[in-house]
């Protein structure tokens, strides 16, 4: 049995007409066949060619015929099971299911100044513990919570981050790829007997560089599921128009989908819309933009037509702290993504874009996830919920519903009660120190860290994990990606008696 998560129990939002959906689909097919995509990977190009694509090896460009695109879309499963370390926490991605995941952050933030700073090893592990404890986190994405932490050389960040997620959480986890890190990531999973989800990030516009294609091959061969994303910025690496942006994003992720189905027919893939308009003052992606919501809604409608599970890992605010702006940016992104049919949403913990992360934010986000999840569940209508007999029994004033058995049963089923929202009356609020949701979230973080114990790995799993990490350290050292000085600092950071936890 998969983890329940949430279910969307009503028709999804359709922002495009049928004609518009067809126009975008036709445009995608045309781009894939006429313009084609640059794929910097010879084995991939040969496989494309063997399956009827036009390949220009000098330009490394593949042109995919419409019939093959449509055939591969049909081969991709419309829903699939993604295994977690704890089988009860595995996910059933696709259909009307709706899950939330932790978002990545490059650094931590100071809770007083809100300035960014490098996370410590302890903070990284504690943050995974918090995600493990939060009820509305179902998935841990690559780099979650941090891209790296004190003492770890950059080339080891991905693997150290994965090790932390495996050690301190039994939930479904995803890994990235960088400089062959996925080789060790897959080894770790196989040695521990667990499944991980891989990532293939294409390079917009219309390119898939060598590492991304290699990662795709490796996860396909390991038989693990894969997330395929682009990460385009509209007006920079994609057209400034939403319709044009949907076409380029589509063409990029579908190139990955086609390659996956050619390597391993029926391979479990999750397609993602990770598109933002460019901030034309700064050049940065407009993370919290309402235009990104429109892009999600349109892309999700197309992906639903294709019948492929959908990831909208895009709930990153522009704000630098959990303030009003952060709240509306996150809330709108999550709600629109959910309404339009996303199956997975990376939300928890992102403070500013992908640049900063904090557990306190993840705790606040867990309430937002619960609220939106509750909305997705919709309205139950049956004789008991219609309550006509009860209304007759209670009648006009002085009758009331508060003392009824029906109320005792149903209010808990119907309401979602946020865990850290301020819901007091003025007098209660004034008498208890005028606490805000942020204060409550800080308290809850302390409570989780003192009470929640993630299920540990077995000693032999722990040994395998450390052995593969050590193998990776030697590999990168030999390739010159870790300097002597970095290695000395790294080794020093591993001397704590509480290693690997601090």
């Amino acid at each position: 049995m998969a983890l329940k998560g949430f279910t969307r129990n009503f028709k999804p939002l359709e922002i495009l007409t049928e004609e518009q959906v067809e126009a975008i689909h036709r445009g995608t097919l045309e781009v894939l066949w006429v313009t084609g995509v640059r794929v910097e990977h010879e084995r991939a190009l040969k496989l494309f060619e063997k399956n009827g694509c036009k390949v220009d090896y000098d330009e490394m460009r593949v042109r995919i015929p419409p019939a093959l695109v449509e055939e591969c879309i049909r081969k991709a499963p419309s829903s699939f099971h993604a295994e977690a370390r704890d089988g009860k926490k595995s996910l059933m991605l696709g259909d009307n299911n709706f899950y939330f995941g932790g978002a990545p952050g490059l650094q931590s933030v100071d809770l007083d100044t809100w300035e960014p700073r490098v996370a410590t090893r302890k903070e990284n592990y504690d943050s995974v513990t918090v995600l493990d404890a939060l009820p509305n986190v179902h998935f841990l994405c690559p780099y979650t919570p941090y891209f790296g932490f004190e003492g770890v050389p950059p080339c080891m960040a991905m693997l150290e981050s994965q090790a932390a997620r495996i050690r301190n959480s039994t939930k479904c986890i995803c890994v990235g790829f960088s400089n062959d890190s996925e080789v060790f990531a897959i080894k770790m999973a196989q040695a521990l007997g667990i499944e991980i989800m891989g990532t293939c990030a294409t390079a917009p516009p219309l390119a898939m560089y060598r590492d991304a294609a290699e990662s795709l091959f490796r996860f396909a061969e390991a038989g693990f599921p894969l997330r395929i994303l682009s990460g385009q910025v509209m007006g920079g690496t994609a057209p400034a128009t939403i319709a044009g942006g949907v076409i380029t994003n589509n063409a990029e992720v579908i190139t990955g989908l086609v390659l996956a189905q050619l390597i391993r027919p029926g391979m479990r893939v999750l397609v993602k819309d990770f598109s933002h308009p460019m901030n034309m003052n700064t050049g940065a992606p407009g993370f919290g933009s309402i235009v990104a919501c429109l892009h999600n809604a349109a892309s999700n409608q197309i992906f639903r037509k294709y019948g492929v599970p959908i990831d909208n890992a895009t709930c990153y605010p522009n704000s630098k702290m959990p303030d009003y702006q952060c709240g509306y940016e996150k809330a709108l992104r999550v709600l629109v993504a959910g309404l339009s049919g996303a199956n997975l949403l990376l939300l928890h913990g992102s403070v500013h874009g992908e640049l900063t992360y904090h557990s306190v934010q993840a705790i606040l986000d867990d309430d937002l996830a619960g609220m939106v999840g509750r909305f997705m569940e919709g309205i139950e209508v049956n004789n008991e919920t219609l309550a006509v007999d009860l209304i007759e029994e209670v009648g006009p004033i002085p009758g009331y519903f508060l003392n009824k058995e029906h109320t005792r049963k149903w209010w808990k089923l119907e309401q979602f009660v946020p865990k850290v929202a301020d819901s007091l009356t003025y007098p209660e609020w004034m008498n208890t120190g005028k606490k805000s949701c942020l204060d409550y979230a800080k308290e809850r973080m302390e409570e989780i860290l003192t009470t929640h114990q993630p299920i540990p790995l077995t000693p032999s799993q722990e040994e395998d994990l450390e052995r593969i990490l050590e193998e990776a350290r030697r590999y990168y050292k030999e390739r010159g990606l870790i300097s002597e000085e970095e290695m000395a600092t790294y080794r020093e950071s591993m001397k704590s008696p509480n290693y690997p936890y601090e």
Partner: protein
């Protein structure tokens, strides 16, 4: 056997079962069980619910459900207490109600339930209670405390009217007066000459004890 009847009475209140509470109360009378013992177990039951509410584990529907079950049993037991001439131990007697013109029942019921849980004898006059009805209630039950609620600014002045009426009837010094409800502030309570104000139901328990010197 007696223990079983009392346990069932207690259980009926904890399970919000008004019919059960009334029928077990009748069984108490029928079996000639000491009615003060019945009051004791009912107080234990309502205290358990009240404590759960104070800790945030139980909610208003539970509090009101238990209060209803308690109210279904109380008149039957009190009748028996009177009949056998026993004395009921309590922290004091409270007359409580929402003032005339105001039909907001929930906050008042919360306070009534928690005061009962704390060991007061509570006579809930309900909602839309006129000054005359309050006076009558205070006399009838020989109340130590009058507790009044108004949720609306338009009905708050009614509290002043009740106090003025008590003065006319020479009853003002006989009772301690506590006020509350969404429309009431400490300043308002002081201005009408109330003895105490509390913004929350849980706080009202402490206030009531303080007013009777317990």
């Amino acid at each position: 056997m007696n223990v079983e009847v009392l346990e069932n009475l207690k259980k009926a209140i904890i399970e919000y079962d008004s019919e059960g509470a009334a029928s077990w109360a009748k069984k108490v009378v029928q079996d000639r069980i000491d009615p003060t013992k019945a009051i004791d177990v009912m107080t234990v039951a309502i205290r358990q619910i009240g404590d759960g509410f104070s800790r945030g584990e139980l909610f208003l529907p539970d509090l009101v459900g238990a209060a209803d079950a308690m109210s279904a049993a109380t008149p039957i037991i009190e009748e028996e207490i009177k009949r056998v001439g026993a004395r009921r131990e309590s922290l004091g007697t409270v007359v409580i109600g929402t003032v005339y013109g105001d039909i907001h029942t929930i906050g008042k019921t919360m306070v009534a339930t928690l005061l009962q849980a704390d060991g007061f004898v509570v006579n809930d006059l309900g909602i839309n209670v006129t000054a005359e009805n309050f006076v009558e209630g205070i006399k009838k039950y020989n109340a130590d405390i009058l507790a009044m609620s108004s949720l609306m600014t338009t009905t708050a002045p009614e509290q002043r009217k009740v106090i003025e009426t008590l003065k006319k009837e020479s009853l003002r010094d006989k009772v301690k007066i506590m006020v509350g409800g969404g429309a009431i502030t400490q300043e308002f309570a002081d201005s009408i000459g109330a003895d105490g104000y509390e913004p929350t139901a849980v706080g009202a328990m402490k206030l009531a004890k303080r007013l009777v010197g317990k």
